[in-house]
Symmetry: none
Subunit: 187 residues, 4 copies
Amino acid sequence: MVDTILEAAAGVLAERGYAGTSTNLVAERAGVSVGSVYQYFPNKDSLVHALHERHAGQMFQVIEAVLGTGPRVTLRGHIEAIVRALMAAHLVEPRLHRVLEQELPFFDVPKADDSPSDKGILVRIRQLLELHQAEIVPQDVQLTAWVIQRILESMVHAAVLEPPPGFSMPVIERAIVDAVMGYLGAR
Amino acid sequence: MVDTILEAAAGVLAERGYAGTSTNLVAERAGVSVGSVYQYFPNKDSLVHALHERHAGQMFQVIEAVLGTGPRVTLRGHIEAIVRALMAAHLVEPRLHRVLEQELPFFDVPKADDSPSDKGILVRIRQLLELHQAEIVPQDVQLTAWVIQRILESMVHAAVLEPPPGFSMPVIERAIVDAVMGYLGAR
Amino acid sequence: MVDTILEAAAGVLAERGYAGTSTNLVAERAGVSVGSVYQYFPNKDSLVHALHERHAGQMFQVIEAVLGTGPRVTLRGHIEAIVRALMAAHLVEPRLHRVLEQELPFFDVPKADDSPSDKGILVRIRQLLELHQAEIVPQDVQLTAWVIQRILESMVHAAVLEPPPGFSMPVIERAIVDAVMGYLGAR
Amino acid sequence: MVDTILEAAAGVLAERGYAGTSTNLVAERAGVSVGSVYQYFPNKDSLVHALHERHAGQMFQVIEAVLGTGPRVTLRGHIEAIVRALMAAHLVEPRLHRVLEQELPFFDVPKADDSPSDKGILVRIRQLLELHQAEIVPQDVQLTAWVIQRILESMVHAAVLEPPPGFSMPVIERAIVDAVMGYLGAR
DNA sequence: GATGAATGAGCATTCATTCAT
DNA sequence: AATGAATGAATGCTCATTCAT
């Protein structure tokens, strides 16, 4: 039931935007009654929030998966894989992601568990940077990770939602990787 | 009159966010009647769009002014000046900018195409790149300008609205310049 | 417009009680739109409150009129006139009064003006008692007025809404007067 | 079970008023499911009516107890005992009584006819009056009992819920007794 | 009997927009 | 042009009630 509602909400949100999404519409789309929506979500915003959490979790797992692939030795290889994975994930339902991510950045930590694997994307990037600290120019890992996070987020979104006309995705992808690597001074 | 209304709208928008802004409230704040608002703006969204346009225009002028300063020889010098000017411009009314840049696209279903001012900025950046083409690595000026515009926009906004804790503005500013220059391979 | 709405509200309230009264219904009954109701009354309760004020004002005027009649010399004569007037006023729209008065007592002071004539019913009763202090047994005018207020209010309501079976109004009226006079020890 | 539910309903009603009381809340407070509430009470109103009935029953028993005490010879002694007992009973849970006696009829469109307990009280008062018929002035016992019941009810409620400022309970109690005795002409 | 998830009619309230003055 | 009272569709949300388990 929760899933049915979330799926319906995702659809309505993608099609009509936040303002155009009403709880009654979501319920109708889900084939349940409004009351059932409110049984599981205290208000409209919590619905969107849940969708958001779900997406943030997915993005986190995408990055986890990429970084866990093991012997992908070079830094550039890692960055390439991350960018490719993020792009792929965002191309699935771009409309929904636009709505979702323009409210809150997708880098939000999904949960604050104690499990060491749940520290969020920012931590993962920092770990990656520390692993390759010898190869990169900026010395403050904290600040550098913040910058990279911004670059990745804004460019992946822009690439999916309003790509510069006349360039193929692989070319754009490469430009994003270049931007990150250029900043790291590790071209 | 148009200006009075826009000013009022800017105030209300900054104070109460998009959802909290009503045409009646704007009219009251402007000291005119709702009818007068509708005399000049066909609907609520056109009001907000006008504000957005105004902001984009201001940013364009800021860049124009910087690039027109003449004998600022180095590329890094230009970039530094642009970043500094953008930061300064955004620090003036951060609350309004937050609404304009974070909330507006969220509530505004049909994604407004790039405004003329945005296009203008893109052109200016391209011109700057062409002027210094010898010093930079990426060869496609069009794509490079697009990337740089993304980086500038997202990082300036992030710096103003949610700066990484523990870093001073000059440090952050420098990081943004480094990111751009790094991408250009012209560190 | 305000009056149209109040009239409609009075009708709906009398027919369906407080819980059964909806702002939309009132608007429909008044032949205006809900929006217009909210133009003049900030919320549902304020509607009921306004009706209440109106009624309290009417009751106050009824009493004013009676006591101002001048040379009605005896205390009993005054009390009789008051009871008769209150009964008459309540027999007009008993259903509405029931709803109105079971929420707040009808003795509420209508307004707290500076005008000496606007001190409320309680004050009027006290004045009457002071005028005839020689004839009555209870000595504390304040407390006595409070008791009489209670007796009048509860018995007039009861007489109109659930009269004891088998007794005519004049008989009941007389019983109320007897109760008041008996308490005053001035039978 | 029925009692658990009624107890929970009394608590919720006292704390949150009629409008703030929902069957789900009562069920939760009682530690049972809504379904179980509906097993014993066909609807929300029947719950509140049951509570009302219970209260009326308690008042009846209070009066029974007082009048059954036997050799309390004088009429005034009986009235005093009744008033004192009623006051004591109402001081126990004034908030619940306020809801039951002020809010309930306001929300409850069809005026419930006098409950059997109310009738019982009326009968008891009549018996008392008949016992002392020689001492009292009003001759119609039926009407006189009705008047006294009104006076007792309204004044005890008023004394508990909105006592006149500056008077102690014993003084107020005495005033109530005086009112009843005065009406009976047996001061 | 007991449960509680599901229902959905209904409600108070908002606000962009219109149009007679 | 300017006004602002009037509009009414639409929204988020509640809660008494049902019924399959």
